[in-house]
């Protein structure tokens, strides 16, 4: 009930308040939502595009304008729909940061040319390059994410059941803890030369190294999770007369899920560092390769495109990971 009421009043008057409250309150509400520094920054960003260019090369200012207009429209739309003031502030602040960065970047490159033009392309050129290279970037994202997923999921599929089993069997568990501590302490990147000798392709070596980088922390997290499950939880399962499989997968697994996620998170972070590094050394595809390859040719526009794309991909994957974690642990308050 409450929800629908709020929603309809938002669409009618653009405010949280319902119709009966005084106009002044509604006014201040609109003010709070739409009169913000972020929009002033947008206007500044638009205006500086009309300053004369100092660069001898094309600056692609229209790409900045289109990008900023798109972002501004999204901002206005979200401003109407985000309910919590704190969330709205956060969102608007991030957008303001992007505008601020674009203003400084435009001024320092295209407009006043205070940075070395070869190393610092104007923002419009980066957007233009991004659109021009779209399919290439997409293929490289697929290549990198594919390798990560393959190694990562394989590691989870092996490490979690093994960790459950080892952690559950008291004797094996304590030995396995020490062994995994030793093997897990070896930085996975040092396996690369051996991996190259063992395995036929760059891709298989990458999957192998990501597997190792994920396997040990997940195994350690699972085992420690299992060994720390409250004895009372185990007793309540025992008195229900559960069989071994149910005990492991319906009781011990969810009870140690939080610890398992700590291992998974660690594995994911290391995997990205490893893969992008590895791609810079020996690959013919992937995001690391894209960055390294073009910077070798002095194409710093594409280098910056690559950096931004790597950032976006990692943020999106972490976001997805957090959502999955939140969903699976939703029973914790």
């Amino acid at each position: 009930m409450m929800n629908t009421q709020t929603k309809s009043s938002v669409s009618r008057s653009g405010s949280f308040e319902n119709n009966k409250t005084e106009k002044s309150k509604t006014k201040s509400e609109i003010f709070r939502r739409y009169f913000r520094v972020v929009h002033a920054l947008f206007v500044v960003l638009m205006l500086i595009q009309f300053l004369p260019d100092q660069l001898p090369t094309e600056t692609y200012a229209s790409y900045v304008i289109w990008f900023a207009v798109g972002v501004e429209i999204l901002t206005l739309v979200f401003s109407a729909f985000i309910k919590k003031p704190a969330a709205l502030n956060l969102f608007v602040d991030i957008i303001a940061f992007i505008y601020g960065l674009l203003i400084l970047w435009t001024l320092a490159t295209a407009k006043f040319n205070v940075l070395k033009a070869a190393l610092f392309p104007p923002p419009g050129k980066v957007f233009w390059q991004f659109i021009g290279d779209y399919d290439k970037i997409f293929t490289n994202i697929l290549s990198s994410v594919g390798i990560i997923l393959q190694g990562y999921l394989l590691a989870l599929a092996v490490a979690i059941p093994l960790g459950l089993f080892l952690g559950w069997s008291a004797r094996l568990g304590s030995a396995a803890t020490y062994i995994s501590k030793f093997l897990g302490a070896i930085p996975p990147i040092v396996y690369i030369p051996y991996g190259i000798a063992l395995l036929p392709t760059f891709r298989s070596v990458s999957v192998f190294v990501i597997f190792l980088a994920t396997f040990w922390p997940v195994l350690a997290g699972t085992m420690s999770g299992v060994m720390n499950v409250d004895k009372k939880t185990i007793d309540s399962a025992k008195v229900l007369n559960v069989n071994k499989i149910t005990m492991l997968f319906s009781v011990i697994l969810p009870a140690s899920l939080q610890q398992i996620f700590i291992g998974c998170n660690q594995g994911l972070t290391v995997s990205f560092v490893l893969l992008t590094s590895a791609e810079m050394i020996g690959a013919q595809s992937g995001l690391g390769y894209y960055i390294k390859n073009y910077s070798d040719f002095g194409d710093y526009t594409r280098t910056i495109v690559g950096l931004i794309v790597v950032g976006i991909v990692i943020v999106m994957i972490s976001f997805l990971f957090n959502r999955i974690q939140k969903f699976l642990l939703r029973w914790k308050q």
């Binding site: 409250d230 009372k232 939880t233 007793d235 309540s236 399962a237 025992k238 008195v239 229900l240 007369n241 559960v242 149910t246 319906s250 009781v251 969810p254 009870a255 899920l257 939703r330 029973w331 914790k332 308050q333």
Partner: protein, 268 residues
Amino acid sequence: MSKIEINHLTVNYTEKKKNFTALKNVSFSIEEGEFVSVIGSSGCGKSTLLSILEGINNPTEGEILINGEPVTGTGPDRGVVFQHYSLFPWMTARKNVAFGIKQVNKTASRAERYQLADEFLEKVGLEQFKNKYPSQLSGGMQQRVAIARALAMDTDILLMDEPFGAIDAKNRTILQELLLELWENATPRKTVVFVTHDIDEAIFLSDKIVMMTANPGRVYREIRVPFERPRNRAQLVQTKEYNKFRNELLAMFYSDIVSKIGGEEVVL
């Protein structure tokens, strides 16, 4: 033959190279359909006794027979309610009950299990909370779910280890009445072993009270509760007989404790 026979049960623990006798030569029996409370101060071994009945601990000497068969581990003939942590926090109330049902009834379909779970959650007055997780329920509600699960599993025997020990006084009486009502109205009645340190609770609920004493834990007295069923608390507590019986029990309870400890401060 009694439903449960506890024969010369002795339990020794070794803790830091010190031997500790939790139970010494405990024997008594429980009839089918009987509600028996085990009462005593802390350290008298009442929870240890129950854990052996549950099958999660083993005695050093002696044995427990259920229907003449020795207990060697947990079994589908016993349902258990603990003071805390009976429920799995990652399962909703409904799922918790359905999970219990699944363990004793492998043939029931998922829909049948959920339907039965809903039925029992309704019996304990929680039909509106069936999709809540334990962390979203109060302590009293959690114990209601635990009771619903134990009942839904339809075991012959119900083992309850201070199930209302952590519940506030008002809710405790409500839960006692609920438990009694569910137990009295079931046919056949289940055999219940109920551990508590609350004398009023024991009198109100039980057919028989087994009073235990500490250091080492052993049976002090077995007392039959003389009051008719169905019991009505409000009427019962006003009768002379009730107060006389209660005072006798209290005297027994405290004389034992005082003689043991020699008049020092007693923590129950």
